[in-house]
Amino acid sequence: MGATRGTAVPRKIIGAWLFPAAVAALYAATALFSPAIAAQALKSFGALLANITPAMVLVFCLIFLTNLFIDRRWLARHLGKTSGVRGWVFAIVAGILSAGPLYAWYPLLGDLKAKGMRGELIAAFLYARALKLPLLPLMVQYFGMAFTVTLSLCIIVFSVISGLLVKAIPGIEDADAGGNR
């Protein structure tokens, strides 16, 4: 048993690095044929990485705190099957307030899903992220107040619809996730 666990972890680590290794090979191939595109991609990758790192650190700190303080009973009450309207409000408000890129939030959502968060609330959270409070002044400047208010309200309504549609997909709650459990 111990031996199995001992080999399983490195195998998991190696498996996780296979995808970035394949992408690195793509970069090498691109650099052979078009060094300018490869250089531009590397520059853009560096900028994206610098952009995502603070959000990822914040998300992993949140994961640590949820692992430490939030138990399944709390989660079931606020985001689980019995959370009702409170769960929807909680998910949509959290989605609107969440900062950083979409993929930065997957680990935390995966962790919460493993603890019992409803799939439809995850979908609502991810859709509500389209409403970005810090960017609203910029949106007003670009597209006007009427558009910004209309879009904001539509995003809130459609985030509920996205959750309801995800809920309607058979078997989606039981879908098996990858190796992060």
Binding site: A41, P107, L109, Y142
Partner: protein
Amino acid sequence: MMEQDSKASRAAKQTAAMVVGTVPIIIGVLALTSLVTAAVPPQTICDLLPMESLLAPFLGGLVGSIAAGHPVVSYVLAGELQAAGVGLATTTALIVSWVTVGIFHLPVEAAILGARFAIWRNVICFVLAIATGYAVAFLMLVGG
């Protein structure tokens, strides 16, 4: 006190396992997205596609789904398209799908939240981004 320590150590181990399993996939996805957008920038895709046709909101959603970067970029792109005469439904679909749909992020989402969930959520969000575009355009028209 000891129970608290063991709880903290268990939480740290669970978090570390998640970091180890997730970070490489996120790095790979970021690198792939950067490579694709360097090879084919979203603006080039918009220039190539018929963004003023009947299919335009669908195409706007598609560009937003494959694009990456800060949402501000989507505002700038949508603003330019709108100035060029592209409809509100199309630019709205682009802005919404930019944030809610991630074709290149799909491997990360599938690995963490499950493939079935990730695929269905992205399909639903893609359709709803277009629907949001039409809804906003309709409401703006009705509201004057």
